[in-house]
Symmetry: C2
Subunit: 212 residues, 2 copies
């Protein structure tokens, strides 16, 4: 089972590594980190690079395609060769998936028109531009398109897919091996549960960032 | 604030990347991925390498030291130059931390004697050999030593530390930006909640692995 995970400058590392940690443990999984050029790809903070072992020209198909999000996604929204690659691989997949603003890349490639999708809560309002219906659900499965909310939500999405692909017992074994029994010290993980003034503050900062 | 994260052949990627994603967002954070030699370091699955921008000789101090776990930890338990490095950096830290079997490296370095610590549930029984008291808690703070359970637990540990270091509001902002409102599709994340036969099965497989 071929699993292609896209890397690009300015991706968010946990978007990619969370699902990788789950999906790579599926029986027969062969994960290929893939980028425009093979080699180190720097994440959004600048403090970490992941190595893409493969280039886009080497990987033309996959059983699962995963697109992480991150600030670098914005620059790719009009990158036609990349969007073409996404469409090419998508034509071969059983599951086409995204974490965070990765769903905007799927949308820009024209793959989410008429579908419901998740994204980072600060980016949900961009989905309708591409004919997609935004959902505040943490994970959304619409046909073969499985999208998740921001950053950490990719772990939940990957476990859900693991169950669909390999059965509940295998997914539970992966959950137990990765000891995924979360105990967040706060309940601030969504705009609905976080302090309202904090949500407003981050919306303002994001707006300034996006129009800078 | 200097944050040193150790990488080594056979580490588990999420152990390192989960806490990185939280701690790198602290005000003034400067994360340094550090390994015996700078360059790509391959994780346990073989399918992913993270780049260590720094070598052990370059990093001699840190405000926060983080040791991830993973199968590669076993080979390091008698690596005296590495254990020396851990002790050297520990002498300068405000927080010395670990995820998963990373606590066994702290223990082997002699830093957990007389202390309580967490680890991967399959490795907890190794802590008493080093004079440490194992805890099945997901996160354990004993003095400046903050240890967590397996793999995904590093995210919870990092958020807890973020609150101690920068206050609740900053930690909550990080939680909201990373949308950390987990919804695991199963309740199999600990030996106490997973199906008993699955726990027994994984214990047997781990035992075979460790004595192989």
């Amino acid at each position: 089972m071929q699993i292609a995970i896209l890397l690009y400058d300015g991706f968010t590392a946990l978007d990619a590594v969370g699902p990788y940690e789950v999906l790579s443990r599926l029986p027969g999984a062969e994960v290929r980190f893939t980028a425009a050029r093979s080699g180190p790809v720097r994440a959004d903070t600048g403090a970490l690079a992941l190595v893409a072992d493969h280039s886009l020209t080497e990987v033309r198909s996959a059983d699962i395609l995963l697109l992480p999000g991150g600030p670098g996604q914005t620059a790719l929204m009009s990158d036609e060769p990349l969007l073409d690659w996404i469409r090419t691989v998508d034509a071969t997949t059983t599951w086409t998936t995204s974490v965070c603003t990765g769903s905007l890349l799927l949308a820009a490639a024209g793959l989410l028109a008429g579908r419901t999708a998740a994204s980072h809560w600060l980016a949900l309002d961009q989905l309708p531009t591409f004919g997609a219906t935004p959902s505040t659900d943490r994970t959304v499965v619409d046909g073969k398109y499985a999208t998740s909310a921001g950053v950490s939500a990719g772990i939940d999405l990957a476990l859900l897919l693991a169950g669909r692909i390999a059965g509940d017992r295998t997914a539970q074994a992966i959950q137990l091996l990765t000891e995924y029994a979360p105990e967040p010290p706060y309940q601030a993980g969504t705009p609905a549960t976080a302090p309202a003034d904090l949500v407003a503050d981050l919306r303002e900062r994001a707006s300034a960032y996006l129009t800078a």
